[in-house]
Amino acid sequence: MLLGLVVNDYKPMSTPVNEPKPCPSCGCALPAGALAGLCPACLLAQGAQTDPGGPTDAPRFVPPPVEVIAKLFPQLEILGLLGAGGMGAVYKARQPALDRMVALKVLPAGGSNAANFAERFNREARALARLSHPNIVAVHEFGQVEGLHFFLMEFVDGTNLRQLEQAERLSPRVALQLIPQICDALQYAHDEGVVHRDIKPENVLVDRKGRVKIADFGLAKILGRDPEAQRLTVEGQVMGTPHYMAPEQVEHPLSVDHRADIYSLGVVFYEMLTGDLPIGKFSPPSRKVQVDVRFDEIVLRALENDPARRYQHASEVKSQVATVAGTSTTEVPRPTAQADSQSARAIGWKQPILEWFTAFGLFVLGFSFLSKGMGGLLMGWLGVTGWPGGVVRVVIFGLLITAGIRRAMSSLTVAVKLSTPGGTAIIPAKPRWWLSRPVRLTWLILMAAVLSVTLDRRVDMWRKNQTMQLRMAEFERLAHEQPDVPSDLLDAKAHLAELLVTFGPEHPSVQELRARIAELERMGREEPKIPADLREAKARLAELLVTFGPEHPSVQAMRARIAELERLSREEPKAPSDLREALAHLAELRVNFGEEHPDVQRTQARVRALQQMIRREPMESENSPEALARRVRLVEQQRLALSAQLRVEKAHFAELRVTHGEQDPEVQQQLLLIKRLEDKLLEL
């Protein structure tokens, strides 16, 4: 609705002129409309000029070249111009006598009322030189050289808050780290009777260790101008906006006191938290960014228009901020020791990278412990097996991941790296969401997980190869030593040797296998003629007894299988092996599931079908000519198939040997496979 009104109500501000008159100055036709008789081109041309003779206009300040300054200050090595503005120019210099870096500030000349200026300069500069505070740029010396007023100041190796804000959005953590230091500086200066008058991000320097140094204290007063006037009059040397000035600085410049600085502090604070200036009707910080609501109150009170309603002391702001930050429940920060160490840690790039790699390593190790292959191997080295090993693995996983997260969190502090004329400063800052710590932590953990899974698979394969080779070698050795021992017993013994290496003597699998071997040996002694399937079932029963005890359903089922096999051997010795297996399986299933279970029904059907087939066409005699002919045909086919496979495998072997080398387990395995195929071919 608002818009409709606006546009419909629009009328040209004056009635149209019917016949255009020419401009008296340039002769162009004068346009119709609100300018009513004014020539826009001429207006603009006049507006673009600067008034040279205006009584209050500041002359344009041109920073003297480095050579000129070097001549004026022979006791200094002038290294370069750091910056210039309406408030003067700053040079980086070295004092060889004291071997220290200094900043030389040269003020614009006082203009017509030079005497006045010199007097004010001397008075104020003395007050400034008395200020001695860690958060205030110290004034070493001041004076006048050939009409040029200067300050020799502490050199701050770092950057200013404006540059920080422009580089990246500051996190509330950083804001809360800087604000108390600004408060300290202001409180100290106010106690000394000095008002800054021009607190703004450009004047808040931050050194490489994250320490605040406030520059240009009282300079506004020495220069005797408010920044607003400068903004409008000094073309090309814009000092910034007047948004940091307290209202009374504009309205009653003569009655300004230290509370104006508190207003400016409020603006700086608001801007640090939200990235915006509190102009017009602005929303409180917590509406714009995620900070504790209680900061709203602090910021808004500092920004009160009436000085009497603001905080009366900078120290109050500091203590309020400390209180809120100390009990804050949101993401916001403790600005104290921890934050300091955090910023200190973020300085320098080697440390974060080192920490990142440490964190990554810890994650990989943690996941490795959790995974089966590597974890088992590591636990094997540590000599812990069985279920305590599992517990230890999980505990170690937890510890490593926790340690990794702690490392990662500090390494993931996003640091703004700034190149300034004085070098580089690295300051922790709030990153964009896709660079935020949780996101990057997730990536880190995912990467570690993927890497450890890959590693784990490699290790698993390698271990399987190792144990497989061990088992095969053992089998061959045993077969050589004890040629008359049945092969299932030999295999069990070889397997035992393998398991002993992998799991140690206490592992349940080892116990099971021991029972199996004992049973096989007993049967070898006592029941030499026992059929193979019955033998296997009894061996399996011995294993099950170790694992589950006599009452377990699996044990019962195995017993039923054995009973059925024994009955078959006794009563139906001629039953073909498939029927025999089906019946044994059926007996087992009945115990496990009862008569009604579908598996039981299905197996019963199978048994019935087999029985019917036997009745209808009893197996042909094995020695009939047809059977013999068929077997010869079959063998021939098998031989063909085998030799074809052998060709393929041999070719693959040749390939593998080139890519993997002679010693690779995969190559060895391929060789074994080929040998086995050749043996089979020979047998045929």
Partner: protein, 226 residues
């Protein structure tokens, strides 16, 4: 003002937007007319454009874009013309038939009274923009003078704003106003100074970076000269 208008719906930003419309409606209107739209269409379009402007928070984007409002506004309008306006019109009328305006007699007075301009719509826009800006500056200056009780002085001296200091007939003006010549000199000087301040201020408000004021001033001079 522009930046204030960009801040999301507060009474203040609404007001800022209203002022924005008041000041820069005509340049946009002239721009659209130059593209061959009828009076009614142009009015609708500019209105719809500003409505969309609010809705989409174009101005919020501007605050981050660090640009010139003068360049930003027609670019957005072009985009609006190309995408949304045609679409909405098509829906309304059924079919994207080009709606050529042949009846120039209907066009509003001011548009007709402007010197016939063969320039491109963009140059027209810049010209009109500069005029609108000056209108606003002069309007503000007049208001300030009226508030200070110097309405007569303003009417007498406003012409001096467009000539060099050296050719101002102070004696003549002093006689007209019935005050002493020295006082006229001071008053005119102040008026000229204040005019420059307001001009720079008004320009600065259409820029994100106040340091670009001088550059923008030159661009505007070029726009008016061409």
């Amino acid at each position: 003002m522009v930046l204030q208008a960009g801040q999301k719906s507060s009474p203040h930003s609404d007001q800022a937007l209203a002022e924005l419309c008041q000041t820069y409606w005509y340049p946009l209107y002239a721009y659209v007319r130059r593209q061959g739209k009828t009076k009614e269409d142009a009015e609708d379009l500019v209105q719809a454009f500003f409505a969309r402007f609010l809705e989409r928070n174009y101005l919020e984007g501007l605050a981050v874009e660090r640009g010139k409002f003068r360049a930003f506004l027609p670019a957005s309008l072009k985009n609006f013309l190309a995408n949304e306006w045609d679409r909405s019109q098509r829906q309304k009328r059924g079919g994207g038939v080009e709606h050529l305006s042949l009846n120039w007699q209907d066009a509003d007075d001011r548009f007709q009274l402007d010197p016939p301009d063969p320039a491109s719509p963009d140059r027209t826009f810049d010209r009109e923009w500069a005029m609108a800006l000056l209108e606003r500056v002069v309007g503000r200056l007049r208001e300030e003078c009226v508030t200070d009780g110097k309405a007569r002085l303003f009417e007498q001296a406003k012409g001096f704003l467009m000539v060099g200091q050296e050719v101002i007939p102070y004696a003549h003006a002093a006689a007209e106003l019935g005050i002493d010549e020295g006082a006229v000199r001071v008053a005119v000087h102040r008026l000229r100074k204040r005019y420059r301040e307001l001009l720079r201020d008004e320009i600065a408000q259409t820029l994100d970076d106040p340091a670009q004021v001088a550059e923008e001033l030159r661009s505007l001079q070029v726009a008016l000269a061409g």
